[in-house]
Amino acid sequence: MKQARRAIACRCAALLTCVSLTGCFSSGNLGLASSIGKDPGDLLTNPHVFRELGPAEGRSCRFFIIAIVPVGNSTFSRAMDKALQESGGDALLNVTTTTSLYGLAPLFNVISFTCTSVRGTAIKIEAIRD
């Protein structure tokens, strides 16, 4: 009798774990991503000198509470701006972007959220090359 109860409890716990958090993510790569502050035409048509600032990453999320109340901003530009603000850079090279969608207690749709993450090498554009 005890063993049967224990088996049922284990199955319930497993089911609860399965349905209490669900999610998935996908990722991709970009070569160059620059903020809106730099003139794209000038950046591309004139040769520039830049300084590598190192790896940078940023993340932005939007939450959806009870599938009715949206909070936050999950755009790529927001995540990139965060990465650039922290590193003091103007653009990112070799960018990996990831978008995710998660649901907490999905049976009751308590909260779901989608996030965009960016990771790349931050650069500071210094001057037009002679």
Partner: protein
């Protein structure tokens, strides 16, 4: 009856969209730094847009790909472009019959001016 219909309409679909702007987005390539260190003359191909979506059925079965790179690829492939400038990016999250969590999807969209690099003008120009 009217209240029931209103509630159905209100909760039949819920969603939100947020947007932002980016200067340049280029595909992944061997040497993206060359886009900055070299002069890369280009021609404007025109306005283009791309969209990628991930679907989530019953909050258990995911399918699709909502990565930004997929949306950029779709936009550039449509016009045979090399990069996007002055890009508007948006991210959306929608739920159908959210009370039962029947179906949700998140999409990433890009809209911008597609450009194509002019290789003849600069033989060293890098096409990513």
């Amino acid at each position: 009856m009217r209240a029931f219909t209103s509630a159905l309409v209100l909760f039949g679909i819920t969603g939100c969209v947020s947007t932002g702007q980016v200067g340049i987005l280029s595909r992944s390539g061997a040497d993206p730094a060359a886009l900055i260190t070299q002069a890369n003359p280009y021609e404007e191909v025109g306005l283009t847009s791309g969209r990628s979506c991930r679907h989530f059925a019953l909050n258990l079965i995911p399918f699709g790909d909502a990565a930004l790179s997929t949306a950029v690829d779709e936009a550039l492939t449509a016009v045979d472009g090399d990069a996007l400038i002055n890009v508007v990016v948006s991210s959306s999250l929608f739920g159908f019959i959210p009370y039962y969590n029947l179906y949700a999807f998140t999409c990433t969209s890009v809209k911008g001016t597609a450009i194509r690099f002019v290789v003849d003008a600069n033989p060293e120009a890098v096409i990513p």
